[in-house]
């Protein structure tokens, strides 16, 4: 089997940086709590891409990067389930999931 050898690692890193920034942008600008959660998923995916890239390129002896990525995926799932449960709770209490309107806690 042939696998690619010529893709510079920089391209992957720039891609992951871009996705990371999109993730942050999503978290910061979205009004809908579910969309914010999607932003978090973007961030975590970019992290995963980083870890897997480095694991495949640098870490010859071990596969720690891959292991981190696996745990991140599982934790993302766990976090998503809790987050969505909380969002449902918010929906039951407030009737909407607009984060900008959730300001009963403030100075």
């Amino acid at each position: 089997m042939l696998w690619f050898t010529k893709y510079p690692v920089e391209n992957l890193l720039i891609l992951s940086s871009a996705v990371f920034c999109f993730g942050i942008y999503t978290i910061v600008t979205r009004k809908n709590a579910v969309s914010i959660l999607m932003g978090v998923e973007l961030v975590l995916n970019s992290v995963n891409l980083n870890f897997i890239t480095f694991s495949q390129f640098v870490d010859n002896a071990g596969i720690s990067g891959n292991m981190v990525a696996i745990f991140v995926i599982v934790l993302a799932a766990a976090e998503a389930s809790v987050a969505l449960a909380i969002i449902l709770g918010i929906y039951q209490n407030f009737g909407r999931v607009d984060v900008d309107k959730l300001t009963s806690l403030r100075n």
């Binding site: 690619f4 690692v9 891609l15 709590a33 995963n48 990525a69 696996i70």
Partner: protein, 170 residues
């Protein structure tokens, strides 16, 4: 450069661009459903990239857990928190030029660091299959994290069920 290499290059760039575009859509789309499906695009293209990087187990896990689990969960959440009758679920955002500027600076910083990484990290590449190593690792190096994770999932289960369930009337 052989034909295969060219082909793989094309696939790589195609996946990368798909991922980039989809994440852009996740960040900016004004339609809720479209956002969710853009996320699907990101997840799939990333899965493809993992495959290209020979992380085959991750490829599978990404599709199974992320696409099969998390995304479905998210779509459920969208449906539960919106009135489905409304076809165009709008997904508003509160962007401003300053936020864009900040994110651009962040991007510049990250690209800067990516480009200044030492040379040696850019040459090696793994050639052994991964799945077996991951299996071994889960029972040696990552044994404790793995077990902790199971407790964590138990806690999540309790919490998620508690928070999301309807009150049982007695």
């Amino acid at each position: 450069m052989s034909l295969n290499e060219i082909l793989l290059n094309i696939i790589f760039y195609a996946l990368a661009l798909t991922g980039l575009f989809s994440s852009f859509m996740v960040a900016t789309s004004t339609n809720m459903v479209r956002t969710a499906f853009s996320l699907l695009g990101v997840l799939f293209s990333f899965a493809g990239l993992y495959g290209l990087l020979r992380a085959d187990f991750l490829f599978a896990a990404q599709i199974l857990v992320y696409v099969g689990g998390i995304l479905v969960l998210i779509i459920f959440a969208i449906m539960l928190t919106h009135k489905i009758a409304n076809v165009n679920l709008s997904n508003e955002s509160t962007s401003s030029s300053t936020v864009i500027a900040v994110v651009c600076i962040l991007f510049a910083v990250l690209v800067f660091i990516a480009l200044t990484l030492p040379e040696y990290i850019k040459i090696n590449q793994r050639n052994k299959p991964l799945t077996e190593m991951i299996g071994n690792n889960l029972l040696s190096d990552s044994l404790l994290p793995f077990e902790i994770l199971s407790v964590l999932l138990l806690a999540c289960l309790i919490g998620a069920v508690y928070l999301a369930r309807k009150e049982v009337k007695e």
